[in-house]
């Protein structure tokens, strides 16, 4: 399967992050893992670009981040756990509708099934 890289995902990354967070709260690395899993390995993100997207979503009030409890037994720096807010959930539903419409129109023009 051909891979989809970061450039092709431009403009969709935020929606993808919201989608990953619908499965439950997660830190950055886990979000990435979920996305790669959902994309069956075909998604190739520049991993660093996830964080600016998370900051933008948080600033827009769509997700909320919280540092994990320092009492956890895991080694290494504390991780920031992100939670999908109601606003983010709404935005995700809108974006999904817009994307379905987009693929059906463009798919129709290109003669591909949407």
């Amino acid at each position: 399967m051909a891979t989809i890289n970061g450039d092709a995902l431009r403009g969709h990354l935020e929606t993808l992050v919201l989608s990953a967070l619908r499965r439950g709260d997660a830190h950055g690395f886990e979000i990435l893992r979920r996305l790669e899993e959902s994309g069956s390995g075909a998604l190739k993100l520049k991993e660093g670009s996830l964080y600016p997207a998370l900051y933008r979503l948080e600033a827009a009030g769509m997700i909320k981040g919280k540092w994990e409890d320092s009492a956890t037994s895991r080694r290494g720096p504390r991780r920031r756990i992100y939670h999908l807010c109601r606003k983010g959930r709404r935005r995700f539903d809108e974006a999904r509708g817009e994307f379905q419409q987009f693929t059906s129109i463009i798919g129709g023009i290109l003669g591909a099934s949407a």
Binding site: H27, G28, K46, P52, P77, R78, R79, R80
Partner: protein
């Protein structure tokens, strides 16, 4: 760990954002790099290969810096934007004399705006009570000319602004490096600030009211300056304390 931190610091240091925001970026990217390295090691890579692979996965550092910068609210960027070096040259020289220069500790615009705003506050609240001559001239219009009031306000504001600007610059520098407050530096700064305030006071009174200031007037003015200086030192100590979590990052040598 140090290599990972250096890589993260190369990405985050050039970003213009407040320190707490940058610390968060650092921690998250470091955590991510560590997790990526662990994953690569799990696939059988040795330490060096795992590090290189994790770096590659994170993406081009310069591009990531730009992306992170775009995620910073514009007003924060504006406050922390770098002013041209020619504006700061005098500061560097004076700071070196005091042994305290550390550029970019607090954003230049923040200090420019901040000192301006505080000067306005002082003019509105404190200054009318400080040099009685100025207050009289401004509020009673002793000089009997409407233009004078505005000129006096402008002169007093500019002088207070200058005084605060110098003070904030030096206090900001005194709080580094890093995480320790240096009392002797603060004392030297204090002497400079008080001398500046005394000079401004004499200038204001002699130029505007055209007589020498009396001793109680000088004492009153210096009293206010001391209060402001005390507040500044407390802020400086607070800044130094707040900076502690950033020390290990700021101490890293990120030059390639």
């Amino acid at each position: 760990m140090n290599q990972l931190m250096i890589h993260v610091e190369r990405i985050v240091r050039p970003v213009r954002a407040r320190q707490s925001r940058k610390l968060r970026m650092r921690r998250e990217l470091l955590g991510h790099l560590q997790a990526a390295m662990e994953e690569e090691r799990g696939k059988g890579a040795d330490e060096v290969a795992a590090f290189e692979q994790a770096k590659q996965r994170l993406g081009d550092p310069a591009e990531l810096t730009r992306e992170l910068q775009r995620a910073v609210p514009w007003f924060e960027w504006l406050l922390l934007a770098r002013t041209p070096d020619k504006w700061n040259g005098w500061e560097k020289r004076a700071g070196k004399w005091f042994g305290i220069y550390d550029p970019g500790t607090i954003g230049n615009w923040l200090i420019l705006y901040g000192s301006g705003a505080i000067a306005v506050l002082i003019i509105c609240i404190v200054s009318p009570r400080v040099p009685p001559q100025v207050r009289t001239a401004v509020f009673v219009d002793e000089l009997n000319h409407p233009v004078h009031t505005k000129v006096i306000l402008a002169v007093v504001w500019t002088m207070q602004w200058l005084w605060l600007y110098i003070g904030m610059r030096f206090l900001s520098a005194a709080a580094v490096p890093i995480g320790r407050f240096r009392p002797w530096r603060a004392i030297r700064i204090g002497i400079l600030m008080l001398a500046t305030q005394a000079f401004l006071m004499i200038l204001i009174i002699t130029q505007i009211v055209r007589r020498s200031p009396t001793l109680p007037e000088m004492a009153q003015s210096l009293g206010v300056a001391l209060l402001l200086l005390g507040a500044g030192i407390l802020v400086g100590r607070g800044v130094a304390k707040l900076r502690r979590p950033y020390d290990e990052w700021l101490a890293l040598d990120v030059k390639a």
